[in-house]
């Protein structure tokens, strides 16, 4: 322990801490701009200057380690002058009319002056108004005017990327965004460029963020102390009334997230303890207040669809369920809360229908916790785009290790993860398991995987007897036999798996193929239908693609109290941030109302439960009639019945999952051009999609994302027809 005095207060602090950290730990205020707790000290803004006895001149406290017997002063008049001078210089390149105008208090309310500063120069028209760190500092240092002329840099505002936009005219070059990108996310997308007065934050070669490896995690936006980087959607949302801590439900990792709420609306979300991904950072507010969201109950009366009250809609649903007792299939999405799932079990127990969900290969389910990854070892990623889909998990694992371990990707397609990997092994389709055998066991099997023997030897040398962590996509590979040193972790995209396993539900495909079922109750799911049903009851946020007779609007995860089970088997709580939008109601409330109104005592199951059949992946071999192998990839950018890209423009730009990846050679044979429509025909379905011509997939195969509402569930052999050239 080190003893020092700050402003005559004796302080004890462990070794290695800086003076700034010591002061902060004891609530002594030192103003800073470039400092951020989770980033390395930078010493750029020079505002944290302190006086130390025995030192000739003030020093930056953020870079100065404490030592014994130090006597520190943080608030002398000289320091205040120095800080004021520094801030004035910083502000000489930042539009400051919003900061030092003498009418600023009344400006927004009364609009006192006729002549406003141009919008670009600030006034009260900066989106960061009220949240800006410069405003706080100007107040604190009592700056009333700035003696220097404003140098407006006249840079173009960068509005061409989804999710956030950048106005580097407001940038004060604190380097926080750059360090956040490098240190928190290890993405290395932005960096200072040029020098002196020309210095600007930018990407390599002036590419747009979409063209770089940017994951749109928003770490840079959260780091920005000014309005230089701002979120597109929540930009003008203002200062939040409250912040509510809850869990992001978009995928199975379930990160903690803070929702900023103002006037019963989620204006934005921000990370609480750990970094978020693009879905949690930018997706939530747009999802909750999506213009496509339906928040009123609807009923089909004859040929017309009418808006009705809850009583009427529930009554209609109950009547239909009574009418089709025992002939109802209840297909639910795993994205529900545990409470809603419990309510569903009760509904099934009342004997009106059978439960089903679209999860395959549940047998591979295994709990894991981050403690499992205490020992650094190479990471092998099989058939899953871990950097795109599970970026937060990857970050947390690698963050806990001091050394960097190799990342090896086994994938027949060139994903974003494959681009970033140390080694990318591209086996032939269906040969992934053989390749794993070759990698991990001393088998004398002939190498038919299409991967060069030398490359396999190189990877084997990387393991070096230390074992490895294997992350794989359970829906593509069913059985992976591995030696004990290799830990295999299946990455499921959906939460609540341990719960659903105990529920012993049917596979939704079995229900859809069951001819005796005439009524469907869809809870957050929208399967592709094999026959016409007499009644479809849909309970969701958005209208399902398969149509409906009764629509019950459900509240999103930001509007309910509850819990769900994350990938690591632990329960995550959901806290209600806002009242349900419109007339929507929580899922569990709706199901319980229906069960109560059905009025049947529990425990009178009519149909004997059969355990879920294990899905065994069938080997598909292209034939003459169907020459293409359609590979269906797990889609982690899908929530309940919609893919995020179909709801939000940003996601459509960032990751369009409504397209078919096809190799250029195949596209040329079909005379198919990028972005044109193509029809996919197989034995039992046909579908029109947009083609994405890319050499990241092997020839003879086409890739699409999992989409049950379009019937894209399993690998198939297909024929392609170009319908637009």
């Amino acid at each position: 322990m080190i003893r020092l005095k700050i402003n005559d207060i004796p302080i004890e602090i462990e070794e290695g801490k800086t003076v700034l950290e010591a002061a902060r730990a004891h609530n002594i205020r030192i103003p800073t701009l470039c400092n951020q707790a989770d980033l390395a000290p930078y010493g750029g803004c020079r505002l944290c200057m302190v006086e130390i006895e025995g030192y000739q001149r003030p020093v930056t406290s953020c870079t100065l380690p404490c030592h014994d017997g130090m006597v520190v002063k943080t608030d002398s008049p000289q320091l205040k002058d120095l800080r004021r001078f520094t801030l004035e210089l910083i502000l000489s390149e930042h539009p400051y009319s919003c900061l030092i105008c003498d009418k600023k208090e009344d400006c927004a309310k009364f609009m006192l002056c006729i002549q406003k500063e141009p919008v670009t120069l600030g006034c009260k028209y900066c989106s960061k108004d009220g949240k800006c760190e410069l405003q706080v500092l100007v107040e604190e240092l009592e700056i009333k005017e700035i003696p220097y002329p404003l140098t407006y840099r006249g840079l173009e505002v960068e509005r061409w990327d989804p999710f956030f936009e950048r106005d580097y005219n407001l940038c004060i070059l604190c380097n926080r965004c750059v360090r956040a990108c490098n240190e928190i996310r290890h993405a290395g997308v932005i960096q200072f460029q040029y020098r002196g007065p020309d210095t600007v934050v930018g990407t390599a070669f002036g590419l747009t963020h979409l063209e770089t490896a940017c994951q749109f995690c928003g770490a840079c936006v959260d780091a920005c102390p000014t309005g230089a980087m701002s979120e597109r959607y929540g930009k003008w949302g203002g200062v939040p009334d409250k912040k509510v801590s809850t869990s992001c439900s978009f995928c199975s990792i379930a990160c903690e997230v803070l929702l900023n709420v103002r006037d019963n609306a989620v204006i934005s979300s921000e990370p609480e303890h750990h970094p978020l991904c693009v879905r949690g950072r930018f997706g939530i507010s747009q999802f909750v207040h999506n213009p496509k969201r339906v928040t009123e109950p609807f009923l089909k009366k004859g040929t017309r669809i009418v808006e009705v009250e809850w009583d009427e809609a529930l009554q209609a649903a109950v009547e239909k369920l009574r009418e089709f007792k025992g002939r109802t299939g209840i297909i639910f999405s795993p994205n529900l809360t545990v409470e809603a799932l419990d309510a569903l079990i009760e509904l099934e127990n009342s004997g009106f229908g059978i439960l089903g969900t679209s999860l395959d290969s549940l047998s591979a389910y295994a709990d894991f916790s981050l403690e499992q990854f205490s020992k650094p070892a190479p990471i092998v990623v099989l058939n899953t785009d871990i950097i795109d889909d599970f970026s937060v998990l990857m970050l947390q694992i690698r963050k806990s290790w001091k050394e960097k371990t190799p990342l090896i990707v086994i994938d027949s397609a060139q994903t974003k993860t494959a681009d970033k990997a140390d080694v990318w092994l591209q086996p032939k389709l269906g040969k992934e398991e053989d390749l794993l055998q070759l990698l991990f066991s001393e088998s004398d099997k002939r190498n038919t995987t299409g991967v060069a023997n030398e490359l396999i030897e190189t990877v084997k040398a990387m393991f070096n007897g230390n074992g490895a962590y294997l992350f794989y996509n359970p829906s593509n590979i069913a059985h992976v036999k591995l030696p004990g040193s290799v830990k295999a972790i299946p990455l499921f995209a959906r939460p609540n798996l341990s719960k659903i396993m105990n529920m012993q539900v049917q596979n939704s495909n079995d229900i859809l193929h069951d001819d005796s079922i005439d009524c469907l109750f869809l809870v957050g799911e929208s399967p592709s239908l094999k026959k016409t049903y007499k009644v479809i009851i849909a309970q969701d946020h958005f209208i399902p693609a398969c149509g409906y007779d009764i629509f019950l609007p459900a509240a999103t995860f930001a509007e309910v109290d509850g819990s769900f089970i994350a990938l690591d088997g632990k329960r995550r709580t959901l806290n209600k941030a806002i009242e349900p939008v419109g007339k929507s109601k929580p899922d569990d409330w709706i199901i319980k109302e229906i069960t109560n109104n059905l009025g049947v005592e529990a425990g009178t199951t009519t149909r004997a439960k059969e355990p879920t059949q294990k899905a065994t992946p069938k080997q598909v071999k292209p034939t003459g009639k169907y020459p293409f192998h359609l590979v269906v990839r797990e889609n982690n950018y899908r929530f309940r019945n919609k893919s995020l890209s179909s709801l939000m423009k940003g996601f459509k730009k960032f990751r369009n999952d409504d397209c078919l990846w096809i190799h250029p050679a195949d596209a040329e044979n079909l005379k198919l051009k990028d972005g044109k429509k193509v029809q996919i025909i197989s034995k039992d379905f046909s579908l029109t999609m947009t083609a994405k011509v890319t050499d990241s997939v092997p020839a003879g195969t086409v890739y699409a994302f999992h989409d049950p509402s379009a019937g894209l569930v399993m690998d198939k052999i297909v024929r392609l027809e170009c319908i637009e050239s």
Binding site: N182, G188, V189, I190, Q191, F192, Q193, Y194, R195, G202, T203, A204, F205
Partner: protein, 159 residues
Amino acid sequence: MNEAFVLDEELKNRLTALTNDYSTKLAALLPALNIIQDKFGFIPPEAEQQIAELLDIFPTQVREVTTFYSLFYNAPVGHHKIYVCYNLSCCIEGGGKLLHYLAKKLRVSVNETTRDGKFSLYRTPCTGACEKAPVIIVNGAYHYNVTPEYIDELLTKLG
């Protein structure tokens, strides 16, 4: 990727050998960029990308360095680079006139390259040789007490 700027094996080996001389790979960045500039005359973006891969750093980090130093060129420049000092001592001795003379003679303005790609003209702050002002630097070599006649001679010599 432009084929012309793909680094050949020999060059790659030289760059990899460089990394052994330093404690971190990042430290080899400046010498590596110098080698590239010697080879191509400027630093093509393709080469930046390949250096980033070789040194295991992000392309933005390479970009940060190449844009920071004004002596790394991001676009093709003339075969001969002429720098004219424009600080006080040189200007008193006629450095400013020299700059105009060169600009007129080469038919370019400052920071530009002649159409035939032979000469590029730049200004430079003090070169530290004030006692022999005016000074110009041509391809890294100092020329002292320069006069317009000397420039004529030099330009003919350089062709």
